[in-house]
């Protein structure tokens, strides 16, 4: 670029594509082209997830299962943080309570995984919600730190009282019949959770939740109980986490205090920030990118957490909108430089 032109100021102008406008609402049904426009990203995601097991080796299929668990947690985190305004740093608590419940049901009562998982999901979510209930009046940093305390605290208690197998955990749980059940159970869970949440946030309840985030005093003044809506939201996020936990316990046939570990709290956050906060799809994609990366770093021990955090800070400082928002913008809008 020559010297003269570099002094001219330019800005980027963005315009919605015509097709984006046409596909909003019922008009999407007017032609195949519009329908394709809407369907392509969605089917790409669904089929991409569903077909990926066929292209992976045994080891990476296991990693895929892990990534699914992280994706569920990331979805829950994104939902709570962006739609309700509760930054939950304690995703590990959901995983842990789901895992321990289904582990106990399986080990003590001998129930099959297909009974213990649903029961542990719901019961674990109820327990997590009840535990977090007194803290729901909090906001911002207060809620963040309290939710961060719960997994740590539970570990202290389990070790100190030596309950639930103490530091050893509970071993020899039932596992799934084969690796295909493993994978499709979690992938199905992720896809259902993703689309259910996307639907949920556009319903009335989603509107109320978002307004709680923006201005809870106004919601209160409209005669709506904030606490009851926050409780519902936490219950939904906890359902996702507890399902992940219950599934995890049967995936490895083992439950232990490492299920309350920091990884389960921090990786979903990194995935969410990387994928784009508030998009719900972004966190899922982020989880499926970050988990293999962290698997590749497994040999370096604690290095993994450091790497997530670096990615996290890099994205939050330099690209706070995240991958998904960028992709969406490219898909929906023209961009061109304009002289000012």
């Amino acid at each position: 670029m020559s010297r003269e032109t570099s002094t001219i100021q330019r800005r980027k102008e963005r315009l919605d594509r015509g097709i984006k406008v046409r596909t909003e609402g019922l008009y999407a049904l007017t032609s195949w082209r519009e329908m394709f426009y809407l369907l392509v990203p969605r089917t790409l995601l669904i089929f991409g997830l569903l077909l990926s097991p066929f292209f992976l080796e045994m080891y990476w299929q296991r990693v895929l299962c892990q990534a699914g668990i992280y994706a569920l947690l990331a979805l829950g985190f994104d939902f709570l943080a962006e739609y309700v305004g509760l930054v939950c740093l304690g995703g590990a608590f959901f995983i842990g309570s789901g895992a321990y419940l289904s582990g106990l049901l399986n080990a003590k009562l001998g129930w099959a995984p297909f009974f213990t998982i649903p029961i542990a999901t719901v019961a674990g979510a109820v327990i997590s919600t009840l535990v977090l209930l007194p803290c729901l009046r909090l906001r911002g940093i207060y809620f963040a730190i309290i939710s961060f305390m719960f997994p740590l605290l539970t570990v202290y208690i389990i070790i100190a009282l030596n309950i639930f197998g103490g530091t050893e955990g509970i071993t020899a749980l039932a596992t799934f019949p084969n690796i295909w059940v493993d994978q499709y159970l979690i992938l199905g869970g992720v896809i259902i959770a993703l689309f259910a949440l996307r639907r949920l946030v556009t319903e009335d309840i989603g509107l109320i939740l978002r307004s709680i985030k923006d201005n809870d005093q106004a919601v209160k003044a409209s005669g709506i109980s904030i606490t009851s809506y926050k409780t519902k939201a936490v219950f939904i996020a906890a359902l996702l986490g507890c399902f992940g936990g219950a599934y995890l316990s049967h995936l490895y046939g083992w439950v232990g205090i490492s299920q309350f570990a920091l990884d389960y709290s921090i990786l979903p956050i990194a995935a969410t920030v990387m994928g784009g906060m508030g998009t719900l799809v972004g966190p899922v994609i982020g989880a499926f990118i970050l988990t293999p990366l962290s698997e590749a770093l497994r040999g370096f021990g604690q290095m993994r957490v450091v790497v997530y955090c670096l990615i996290l800070i890099g994205f939050i400082v330099y690209k706070p909108e995240g991958l998904m928002n960028v992709l969406q913008r490219k898909y929906h809008q023209f961009e061109h430089w304009e002289e000012v």
Binding site: V87, L153, L262, G301, P320
Partner: protein, 294 residues
């Protein structure tokens, strides 16, 4: 008597740990989630300077305090400055910085760096002696903790009430817009508060850590303790923070004496939850804080 003396020591430990966090949040509304990490970092740096580089102990302490306050300023200048006013991002970013420091300290053998292995990282006491007070044997380091804690609280009070910089920090805390109109730079105030807060975290570390081991896990505990004091005391209220430190310090010592040390953290959470249910603004908090958190 035992409980009284050890309770006081414990309370002052709480106050020392919380004072830096409260200062930063009070002045610039930035939650410094890297607080606990800086605490551990200073402990580790001092230890390695004394043991690996054979530096004179007080000298090592000074250098690591300098590093920690510089780091505090850098955290603001490089990361937090871009995120002001976005509470979610502030929390996540400062938490991530803290995690990088804490987990980074456990790395082994990258560039010849040796992190924490095993539990033998002990800082030497300032004075190795035991003193008897009212029939209770207490080691000199605990007395130093008491005196140091008092000195820190008093000097912070003097700093914020009688120096120009301290007054400008308080002005920013009370009304940012008005303070800016009077020519106080809000970014500069935030940098100053973060570096002082980080140095205070480090100071707490060098005073307290000779009582036990330096571990990476301590970072999380310290952060939680600092937050607990803030929540219970009510933010922005010095008297509240000191009062909360004493409430927590004694509650923990008493519960340890009665039920064993397992329940320490349960008492902590229990206290927070009780406060939140019955007086959400904290013991001495004002209405303004109430709106912010409920």
């Amino acid at each position: 008597m035992n409980i009284l003396i050890y309770g006081t020591v414990n309370s002052i430990i709480f106050a020392l740990v919380a004072v830096g966090f409260t200062l930063v949040y009070g002045v610039s509304r930035l939650p410094n989630f890297a607080h606990g990490a800086l605490y551990v970092l200073v402990g580790f740096l001092t230890w390695s300077m004394v043991n690996d580089f054979k530096l004179f102990y007080p000298f090592a302490i000074l250098i690591s305090l300098g590093i920690s306050s510089l780091l505090g300023a850098l955290i603001y200048r490089l990361v937090l400055i871009r995120l002001r006013g976005l509470p979610t991002s502030e929390i996540i970013a400062s938490f991530a910085v803290g995690l990088i420091i804490l987990e980074g300290l456990r790395l082994q053998g990258i560039g010849g760096f040796k992190g924490f292995i095993g539990p033998f990282y002990v800082l030497p006491s300032f004075i190795d002696a035991k003193i008897k007070i009212a029939g209770v044997l207490i080691d000199a380091q605990r007395l130093i903790v008491m005196l140091g804690g008092l000195a820190v609280v008093v000097s912070i009070w003097l700093f914020t009430h009688h120096t120009k910089t301290g007054l400008s920090l308080r002005a920013i805390a009370q009304d940012e817009q008005a303070a800016m109109m009077l020519g106080i730079d809000s970014d500069r105030a935030a940098i100053i508060s973060l570096s002082i807060g980080s140095a205070l975290a480090g100071l707490a570390a060098v005073i307290i850590l000779p009582l036990g081991n330096v571990t990476a896990e301590a970072g999380y505990r310290i952060l939680i303790n600092a937050l607990a004091v803030c929540i219970i005391g009510g933010l922005g209220s010095w008297a509240g923070a000191v009062l909360a430190s004493f409430v927590l310090g004694f509650a923990m010592i008493i519960s340890t004496a009665l039920f064993g040390s397992v329940w320490e953290s349960v008492v902590l959470v229990g206290a927070i939850i009780l406060i939140l249910i019955f007086k959400p603004s904290g013991l001495l908090g004002k209405q303004k804080e109430l709106e912010e958190r409920v």
